[in-house]
């Protein structure tokens, strides 16, 4: 039996997810919807998919099993809810929504419709973060005391202005920092309080720092930057009382190329040298769980909590006060 996929959006995320599906057995990308419609032409051609006239018509289509919502963040709620109402399982790009209310509405609607909802917290599928989790969970580091996580790329807002509009993207905290906030919840559980500072952001420069405190450790410090002009870079270190692990994507590249013509464009998204990308692995895992009737690996509820934590960092950055974290749901 083949699973038939519809994709809403053909930007960074839509293109990545649609193309990731192409290598997965038993899966067909059947439809693409973008606004305007012609934006999706190239991606539809590449996938052998039809162009739907609108997100609404895609969500109502009778031949689709799964809808991948990869539209700009401020449209996630509208599209994910439409997909659930159309009886489709939903894979929603992160952040699940811009507001907690919107995210909650998506989770509730999917539950009501009896469809599965997974959210694209793809860092949980990056092997370096999985390896770190294994070491943490195995006790190899002892009791976690301190962690630092950084994530940066060049000012993406130059090309996609909606990224810099707080009303439509949530900026660097909801875009980049959310990855590390979700990851630290996955690694360590629910923290006690957060403190954040964020630049006002002008000319595409956006940057934030956060300190996340767990009652009895660890302290986690996060840097999220759209001022990493040479391209994507992640680092982390986790210190437990008997060990330390460190990671730097720059020194973990097994392949470096040089050509006399300089045509290198900085990467928008990390692309580790792997036979199976984390993006494909993420979708394959979701499809496998749907086929087996299992809960998704990163559920809507889980994503909603990570969104809530990011919103707490934003609130701290706005009020310049410590914000106590009480996990919702």
């Amino acid at each position: 039996m083949t699973m038939r996929i519809g994709v809403i959006g053909a930007g960074f995320a839509g293109g990545t997810h649609a193309r990731a599906c192409l290598g997965i057995h038993g899966v067909t990308v059947a439809a693409i919807a973008t606004d305007p419609v012609e934006h999706g032409r190239k991606l539809a051609d590449d996938c052998g998919a039809r162009l739907e006239p609108s997100a609404a018509s895609l969500c109502a289509a009778g031949d689709l099993d799964i809808v991948i919502v990869a539209s700009p963040t401020y449209l996630h709620a509208e599209h994910a809810i439409a997909a659930a109402r159309g009886g489709k399982n939903v894979f929603c790009e992160k952040p699940i929504a811009l507001t907690f209310a919107d995210g909650r509405a998506i989770v509730d609607e999917c539950a009501r419709a009896g469809v599965q909802l997974a959210v694209g917290h793809v860092v949980r599928f990056f092997p370096e973060y999985r390896r770190a989790k294994e070491l943490i969970d195995s006790g190899a580091l002892g009791k976690p005391a301190l962690a630092t996580m950084t994530r940066g790329t060049f000012p993406v807002g130059d090309a996609r202005p909606w990224y810099l509009d707080a009303a439509r993207s949530g900026r660097v905290v909801l875009d980049l920092m959310l990855h590390d906030l979700d990851t630290l919840r996955w690694w360590f559980g629910e923290p006690a309080r957060v403190y954040g500072r964020m630049l006002g952001g002008s000319g595409g420069l956006d940057y934030a720092l956060a300190t996340v405190r767990f009652a009895d450790g660890p302290i986690v410090h996060i840097e999220s930057s759209w001022a990493e002009h040479s391209g994507f870079r992640t680092t982390f270190e986790v210190r437990g009382d008997v060990g330390l692990v460190t990671h730097d994507s720059r020194s973990a590249a097994p392949l470096l190329t040089q050509f006399p013509e300089r045509s290198d464009v900085p990467a928008v998204m990390p692309a580790p040298a792997l036979l199976e990308t984390p993006y494909r692995r993420q979708l394959r895992e979701f499809f496998r769980r749907i086929a087996g009737g299992e809960e998704p690996f990163v559920s809507g509820r889980e994503a909603l909590r990570s969104l809530g934590l990011a919103l707490a960092v934003l609130r701290s950055a706005e009020t310049r006060q410590v914000v106590v974290w009480t996990p919702p749901l």
Binding site: A145, L146, Y195, R197, L199, L205, Y207
Partner: protein
């Protein structure tokens, strides 16, 4: 600047106390710098002091006054809590002082040191050698000539191993990792950005070295002109780490981003005999440059390049961090000054 002028007039400098981990390096520096005549070592532990003085071919003074009589300046490498009494003793004899960091363990002590030196008309310097790093000086130049635009944010780290001994003693050190490792990055921020810290948030923990003092700390600072910064001051480097620690700055300007890793200049030494891997640093000796600059300033009749006030400003941030962690909220620096 002819060479003879530099070598004929030498500053007579003594080292006070051998308690600090930097004391051996400082004694060696004082014994070798051409513009300094080492007048000897005083140490509150005579056994330890005798051995160290003999190893460097310099007199050991059992009596502090005897060393002060012979010296125009002293370098203090004692426990943090002893900085005040040695500074006051030196000032009373008209002897200039270069104090290890942090300047003191309390603001009261720090202010008293500054006042003692001011009223005696002697210079008080604070040991912030990282300002002498070539990489940091290049960053300073980039900022000063506007290549980065306005600096908006800095993430600084100064992690290390627990240095051992009295560094874990609250009375002698004044605190733990925050007291030890906040002040270098704070001083760099103030100096590089020509700005002052106005607000401090900190989360602290004591989980790594079985100490009564803090060994984990993340500070977030607001500066007066609007930039913000963080400092990881933790003693987070394990015993198995290949070096003592390090100091890094990630500087975000409106027109550019800079990474500084002050101690990056190192060979990796895989040592079968010791059964470990270590970094063998080949970077310049920052302590030697710092002491040299201090001596040159005194010889030229200029003020200490890095003052006691600089030391006090950095100490304020550490004190504010402890207060913030206790209250679980940010602390305004101004409240420390009332």
């Amino acid at each position: 600047m002819d060479a003879t002028a530099v070598t004929t007039r030498r500053l007579r400098v003594g080292l006070v106390s051998y308690a600090h981990v930097h004391a051996p390096g400082l004694l060696k520096t004082l014994a070798t710098l051409p513009q300094i005549e080492l007048t000897g070592l005083y140490d509150e532990e005579p056994g330890r002091g005798h051995i160290a003085a003999r190893a460097h071919g310099t007199p050991f003074h059992r009596d502090l006054e005897a060393l002060l009589e012979r010296s125009e300046a002293i370098v203090i490498a004692s426990t943090n809590a002893d900085h005040r009494r040695y500074t006051e003793a030196a000032a009373a004899k008209g002897v200039h002082v270069l104090s290890e960091k942090p300047l003191a363990t309390t603001l009261e002590d720090g202010r008293a040191m500054i006042e003692a030196c001011r009223s005696a008309g002697v210079q008080l310097g604070t040991a912030f050698p990282v300002r002498s790093s070539a990489a940091v000086l290049s960053l300073k130049d980039l900022i000063d000539r506007g290549a980065l635009g306005a600096v908006r944010a800095v993430r600084g780290t100064n992690p290390g191993r627990f240095p051992g001994g009295w560094f874990g003693d609250r009375d002698k050190a004044g605190g733990g990792a925050v007291m030890d490792h906040t002040v270098h990055v704070t001083d760099l921020l103030r100096w590089l950005l020509a700005d002052e810290v106005v607000r401090v948030h900190a989360e602290l923990g004591s989980w790594l070295w079985d100490l009564e003092v803090d060994d984990c700390g993340i500070l977030t600072l607001d500066l007066a002109k609007g930039a913000f910064a963080s400092i990881d001051c933790s003693w987070s480097r394990p015993k198995a780490y290949p070096t003592w620690g390090g100091l890094t700055l990630h500087v975000v300007g409106e027109r550019g981003t800079v990474d500084v890793d002050v101690f990056r200049q190192a060979l990796t030494h895989y040592d079968d005999r010791a059964g470990e891997t270590r970094l063998a640093g080949w970077g310049e000796d920052l302590n030697a440059r710092m002491v040299s600059d201090f001596a040159d300033a005194l010889l030229d009749g200029r003020p200490a390049p890095i003052s006691g006030d600089d030391g006090l400003r950095a100490l304020e941030v550490a004190i504010a961090a402890y207060r913030s962690a206790e209250r679980q909220e940010p602390v305004v620096i101004a409240e420390l000054r009332v």
